[in-house]
Assembly symmetry: C2
DNA sequence: GACAAGGCCTCTGTATACACTGATGCGCAA
DNA sequence: TTGCGCATCAGTGTATACAGAGGCCTTGTC
């Protein structure tokens, strides 16, 4: 694996997990010393982060971690509704029924678990990730998948801001199960509707959950940010 | 302007305009000699092209121009329907009426011109570009706009494959005018419907227009392509 | 004659040196 | 005291050198 790939993934995780806060300056020399590699692969990593929209290049000041606001959450969910609804329709049209029947069954099992005392978040998150991949595969549309990849990166970042309510988690799992079932049945309309319901509830949950701090500490940049 | 920016834009144009064909290998040394700059900024340019999806990195063989097929056209229009329809809705909701009234008026004027003998393609294409920008601004969604930017890059490439029929051009202008009018009137449903109609007709036109060669000359790569 | 193995060679991946742009801070003048 | 200008410097942008990996050609053997 290339050094630039390692640096890119490490920096990306740091940004998504809020170990690197918005406004943070990512100096080339500083990061190259941190990873023990030269500036060249660091430049490549920072370039990719900028292309992802997780960082922004400021002339003469280098690369800084991009800001995230409540307005961004609204914008992200607007795009997500467009992409996820379309993806759900296409997946319902072209899916392998067995794959989504199994996913639906597993999700329904997780719903039952989540209603109990021992909430196994990890299994649910793993299932959601597998379902995302299954939908990507079913849509058979590399451009749509690429757009989804970029979007999910930003969604993961804003999701880390708020701690998901256990009740919400159980309902979200049920909603996912419903989507999987609709896709398995090949019902496009229902798959899209279920997706829209899930997104509306998810956005509602994010907006009403007490977040750590929406307004990040003022960046060291003056008017440029 | 940075050397890497110049190289990126030049290479991007070369790919979109089919001066660089799919499968073409973009050697770092070769391109650095062509632009008269060193390999470092070339690497940055190739990295950005890869992120755009216009090129692909093959281990040990460098970067090659990505393939485009009829299947890609279908996939692109699927994504476009999702993005453009959503953008039309949002634009209709948040637009500045004056901007789109003026665009509608100009487009309607162009429609009349295109029905005459002297077809001024340039003015129409310029108007379409301005309308894209106006919709981007009206949607006020940077993530949606970013997805659109990437998509339009690929669309521009496949569009260059076929020569647009003059009749189709006039109809497309009329469809654009209708979209602009609907957005100006703030009618979300009509804006989305008009967009969907326009996309269906555009795809139909692309698929039925005799293209130069869908199957490009076999790439110098064996099974990797 | 064909296939496999090994060596050579080209090209990428990385490191480092240098130049230049832009920011920052201090000093001088109004 | 404040504003403007210059100097200094930190940090990016670019060039180049070096090493390692992968491809291809050649040669030997079956």
């Amino acid at each position: 694996m290339r050094a630039s790939d390692r640096a890119y993934e490490a920096l990306r995780e740091d940004i998504v997990e809020w170990r690197l806060l918005p406004g943070q300056v990512l100096g080339e020399v500083e990061q190259s010393e941190r990873f023990g590699i030269s500036r060249t692969p660091i430049r490549e990593a920072l370039s990719r982060l900028t292309a992802d929209g997780l960082a922004e290049a400021h002339r003469g000041r280098g690369v800084v971690v991009s800001q995230v606001s409540l307005e961004d959450v609204r914008a992200l969910f607007e795009l997500r509704e467009a992409l996820d609804c379309r993806a759900a329709r296409l997946a319902a049209r072209r899916r392998d029924p067995v794959v989504f029947q199994e996913l639906a069954a597993e999700l329904e099992a997780v719903v039952a678990q989540l209603h109990g005392p021992g909430t196994d978040r990890a299994e649910y998150y793993d299932l959601v990730e597998r379902m995302d991949r299954a939908i990507d595969e079913a849509t058979a549309n590399p451009y749509l998948t690429a757009a989804q990849r970029s979007l999910r990166l930003h969604l993961a970042r804003v999701r880390r801001l708020s701690r998901t309510n256990p009740d919400r988690l159980a309902r979200a799992a049920a909603e996912h199960a419903q989507i999987a079932r609709a896709v398995a049945d090949g019902c496009e309309e229902l798959a899209e509707a279920a997706t829209r319901v899930h997104l509306a509830n998810s956005l509602q949950a994010v907006l009403t959950t007490p977040v750590r701090e929406w307004v990040q500490p003022a960046p060291p940049l003056d008017a440029a940010g």
